[in-house]
Symmetry: C2
Subunit: 356 residues, 2 copies
């Protein structure tokens, strides 16, 4: 790093993230677990501190010119770029559409910013672009602005894509990770760990009886249906991507100061995915999903919400998987198939690098 030209506004304040523990960036800082939390909380939140950012929602809720908007950003660095069930282009659309939808908003427009590596085959870029176009059309969003940068060979990995998205919140909708409260019910829209295991099966050359495809999909129509059904009784929505269901629920439990109890037997998972997890030594609760939605709802609305999920083409396997409790606050506890209980903590390390 050149010592030339220290940033003008660098004021010499010490970094709030302990540098002795975190001297350099590690893969786990991007894994969605405890190391990610430390980097985001200890550096970015400290620097940019404001009430909107501090909610750590999937997107920001902002009011501009009288309009209530959800605004979200995500960069995609997945490898391989093409995988069973999708590619980096469709994933980049689904990811941001879903982050906006999880705020309870209707996604309308997105941006697309490409960081291309010199020498990347143009035909592959065209495949990715076509795929983005299809995914955007399917989700009903318009790509209204973009950017293209090229970096030298060996300074990228084919293509990285950032998408940012904007959606409109309807009156009366108030979805926030802080709204989980004791007595609420936890629903999940389908089988877990499919995306992560589909990606790992390509990387590791695993063979399954049927071809395992990523669940990457836009969830905005499902969210619209849930809100139509249960309205204000929907308290929290979250798509359990990096870090899986376990990390998403831990973040919610910590943020809202509640406990979450899960019933292992009711968490949908396919035999193939379970087998893949065993071979790879992964806990499926921590494996990424790209087309699944967690909903935490008022108990009285749980059955109607479950029925609405199951009616959706992507929600046939939806289930009630647990409940919100008062104690132990900030903790996710799993009631296992064989009767025991265990704490489902945040991961401290990196389980699956570059899964999204």
């Amino acid at each position: 790093m050149s010592e030339e030209g220290k940033p003008v506004s660098f004021d010499g304040l010490a970094c709030p993230l302990p540098l002795a523990e975190h001297p350099t960036v590690q893969m786990a800082h991007g894994g969605g677990g405890r190391m990610s939390q430390k980097l985001v909380g200890g550096m970015f939140l400290e620097a940019f501190d404001n009430p909107v950012l501090r909610t750590l929602h999937d997107g920001a809720l902002v009011e501009l010119g009288g309009a209530r908007l959800a605004f979200s950003t995500d960069s995609f660095v997945i490898r391989p770029l093409f995988f069973p069930g999708g590619d980096i282009g469709s994933l980049a659309v689904h990811g941001t559409v879903n982050d906006v939808a999880m705020c309870g908003a209707r996604p309308l427009v997105i941006s697309a910013a490409f960081i291309l590596e010199e020498g990347f085959p143009m035909e592959d870029l065209w495949r990715i672009t076509r795929s983005m176009k299809g995914a955007a059309a399917d989700a009903g969003v318009t790509v209204v602005t973009g950017d293209t940068k090229v970096v030298d060979r060996g300074k990228g990995d084919g293509v990285y894509i950032n998408t940012s998205g904007l959606g409109l919140l309807q009156d009366g909708v108030e979805i926030s990770p802080l709204r989980a409260r004791p007595g609420d019910v936890v629903l999940l829209s389908g089988a877990i760990a499919v995306h992560g295991i589909a990606i790992m099966s390509v990387r590791e050359g695993l063979e399954f009886e049927t071809r395992l495809e990523s669940d990457s999909a836009a969830l905005n129509s499902m969210v619209a249906s849930l809100l139509e059904t249960a309205g204000e009784d929907v308290h929290v929505l979250r798509d359990p991507t990096r870090g899986g269901v376990a990390s998403a629920l831990n973040e919610i439990a910590a943020g809202a100061g509640v406990g979450i109890r899960l019933d292992e037997a009711s968490i949908p998972i396919s035999e193939e995915v379970r087998g893949g997890c065993e071979i790879l030594g992964l806990d499926p609760l921590y494996v990424a999903n790209e087309g699944k939605c967690l909903a935490i709802v008022e108990r009285s609305a749980a059955d109607a919400t479950l029925a609405a999920m199951r009616e959706h083409p992507r929600g046939g396997e939806a289930a009630i998987i647990g409940e919100v409790v008062a104690e132990p606050a900030g903790t996710v506890v799993l009631h296992s198939r064989i009767g025991g209980e265990r704490i489902v903590d945040m991961l401290s390390g990196e389980q699956l690098p570059r899964i999204c």
Copy 2:
């Protein structure tokens, strides 16, 4: 590239960008010149075609929930990360703030998405983060959402940053590159080519009598002042970044179907920058600026607009540099110091890679 899992929505349509001419991504596809135009026009515009994107404005103008918004995205891949007058963090804030401002909007919120390379010193990330914080505070924008990804060592270059921004358009403001019309006057807010030459001086180890610093700065307060002064008489605003003043004006001339005549003697440039350009064999008209604003205004409003620019702390050297004419349409012509005329075309190749 794995042949596994072709994207679901890839429909086999041939790429509209001639692949025989563009088999792979080249540095020039990100340079802001003719190759960039071909990639954006021949691939991304063809795929995502819609009226908002087609204006090729610095940002998109969208109406959501009754609010008129400008929405812009930019990824920053500059090297070195720290340079005289700024760093990738402040630049990432200024770039997106300016793109939103050039739509005639007041920038309010931005996102910050980091792609970090494994092994990057955390202290450098803190310097960059602090610098973003300072730049955002100075520009009056709030960082409301973000994302962090980590890629393996050797698959990035320290840090890449994407910022996306949102701003609010006031009633009556209508800024568009399509609004340039014969008779309009072209203004520039200060001396050209400073950012590009400051970066190149670090890369190439050039020595100047005084230390040459990038002009990287937020221009939203200047734009607000111009709009207050000249209102609807301001037709086009543009910050001439990648590709410089020449590329920005060529895009406007082509888009609006007008000619632009420039008077070389009235284009502000410092002796140091001119000398740097000579040593490096660069035409300063094509070198990037990061704190300068082009304004194309109604002739009757030119003097008042110029006075408003000069009153701004960043506009002391503002000048009228040319005019819009009917013919030759789509062309920028420079009336040189020594009396001749030459066409100032788009660059076809890449002059300065990774300048922003």
